[in-house]
Amino acid sequence: MYRKSMVLILIAAAAVLASGCASLGVKPWQRDVLARADMQLDSEPLTHAIDDHMYFSKEASSGGRGFAGGGCGCN
């Protein structure tokens, strides 16, 4: 039940994004906050790399943010 709900939420989110993209967004002069370093999706690449490696070696899941491979013989 929970899993179905989770999938439905993700699909709904994708549908909202896909259908509403054209009406979303900002004008070029409204990007002051979005241009900040801490607002980038990749603002902490090393923290992500360290976390991804830790979780890759301890859990059965990986990827999502990037590719799931680990380049590591630990799992």
């Binding site: 967004g25 900040r36 980038q40 360290i50 999502g64």
Partner: protein, 461 residues
């Protein structure tokens, strides 16, 4: 005579003001162009710094310690640069050094258990004697270890080192379209991995929407210490062969959307398929009789293919001095593992925006692979289809709590800025579906779980 220095100071100040103004203009230009809205545009520094044709340097040293088990030290360095024509480069070098005790997959017992280290060829405690090519007689102690009753079987001599290098290039081919290529090489003494990736991203809707597509190809070569064991073979027979390989391909479709002036969202769908030798060559399974006695061990055997599908949704929002980051991930694979991950962090800046603290929480749960079993019954079939006692394929849930502190260091000489940060995390894994052991194993903790801490110190400029 006194005029000259005054002129010089004035000129320096003027040059400095011009430099600051230039940087602010660059930042403003970047903001107007929306150059940093999408992940594909790889902005690891502020807009002004990224476009200043200088290298951005990011480094960290991580220390990881599992309670009673493995500890690791991991230095990591990232260099990135955005060129004036829009090309980008990012390179990363990672070195890991691991040592300590690693579970071998066997079950806790009420009796002493004896195991051979991966290089061992016998379970006998008698020393190995052999003659070298120069005729010298050498006697070596047997590479075995024993585990006391009630303790989880772990190989105490586990150690490994890894060197990994990766590079990614972004090449704009038009005002709205960027291609990206990259590669990664990872080396351990018993494992080598090579991967290559390529992708393309395109902006729409005044660069508020970015669609991206990437492909990845990975090839791994395993050279386990002592050889790769024959899957499902008797542990005591030491049936081992040479090296093995596995390879995988993956594809990812991504959508990044600017929702409003303070909110950015990303949605990724990815699929990958690995095939080849997917066993863990160092993992075994206990064979248990109805009384709870261990009658032997088998090497694990996993399917030769694995397909994973992942949906990932991340949101980032700024509100005043607060930056919020939340993500959800769902994964399903052909081994019937299903997992949910939720992660949330909140960065809180001080009034001057030169210090921040960032609490993080992460929650994770997974179901077991359909061939996971903590032990095999001695009365069962001698032939097993697939079986693994690796707890990473068991049903469990885990949580992480962490705190990060960062401080910016301003250099008034050249108006540059660097950052020092430190992060501490605690991770705990608890196994679900704790099937009680038969006979004498009842009452023993067969599913001890995992507790670990991570300390990371970083510096970037």
């Amino acid at each position: 005579m006194q005029l000259k220095p005054k002129v010089s100071v004035g000129a320096d100040a003027s040059r400095m003001r011009a430099k600051v103004a230039r940087r602010r203009l660059i930042a403003a230009s970047c903001a107007l162009l929306g150059a940093t809205a999408a992940r594909s545009q790889d902005a690891t520094k502020s807009a002004a710094d990224s476009m200043s044709d200088e290298w951005a340097f990011d480094s960290a040293l991580a220390y990881y310690h599992e309670s009673g088990r493995v500890k690791a030290i991991e230095p990591i360095v990232n260099l990135s640069k955005t060129y004036g024509d829009g090309r980008t480069f990012s390179g990363q070098v990672v070195f890991d050094s691991l040592s300590g005790s690693s579970p071998n997959g066997a079950l806790t017992s009420t009796k002493v258990q004896t195991f051979a280290s991966p290089s061992g060829k016998s379970l006998s405690a008698a020393p190995t004697t052999y003659t070298t090519s120069s005729g010298q007689l050498v006697s070596e102690s047997a590479p075995i270890y024993t585990i006391n009753p009630g303790q989880l079987p772990v190989d105490p001599s586990y150690h490994d080192q890894r060197l990994s290098m990766s590079g990614n290039w972004g090449l704009p081919i038009s005002r709205l379209t960027t291609t990206q290529v990259g590669g990664k090489l990872s080396y351990e003494h018993d494992f080598v991995s090579v991967s290559a990736n390529a992708g393309v991203s395109r902006d729409f809707n005044q660069k508020n929407t970015t669609l991206s597509f990437q492909l990845n190809d990975e090839f791994d070569r395993l050279s386990p210490i002592g050889g790769a064991p024959v899957a499902a073979s008797d542990y005591a027979l030491f049936q081992k062969g040479g090296g093995k390989t596995k390879d995988g391909v993956g594809a990812m479709l991504g959508l990044t959307q600017v929702m409003n002036r303070r909110w950015l969202t990303e949605f990724n769908l990815s699929v990958d398929r690995f095939k080849g030798y997917l066993n863990d060559p160092y993992k075994i399974i206990s064979v248990i009789d109805p009384s709870g006695n261990t009658t032997g061990y088998l090497y694990e055997r996993r399917p030769g293919t694995r397909t994973r599908k992942v949906a990932y949704w991340e949101n980032k929002a700024a509100w005043g001095r607060l930056v919020l980051d939340g993500s959800l991930r769902y994964m399903a694979d052909s081994w019937h593992v299903r997992s949910d991950t939720a992660e949330f962090s909140a960065r809180w800046w001080n009034f001057d925006r030169d210090r921040y603290i960032e609490p993080t929480v992460r929650w994770y749960r997974q179901t077991a692979a359909n061939f996971y079993t903590p032990w095999l019954d001695s009365g069962g079939s001698k032939y097993i289809d697939y079986a693994s006692a690796d707890s990473r394929l068991a049903a469990f849930h885990a949580y992480t709590v962490g705190l990060k502190y960062g401080a910016k260091i301003e250099d008034s000489e050249d108006q540059s800025s660097s950052e020092f940060n430190v992060r501490v995390e605690y991770y705990q894994q608890t196994l679900d579906h704790r099937t009680p052991g038969p006979g004498s194993l009842q009452g023993l903790d067969l599913y001890p779980g995992l507790k670990a801490i991570l300390v990371q110190v970083g510096y970037k400029f």
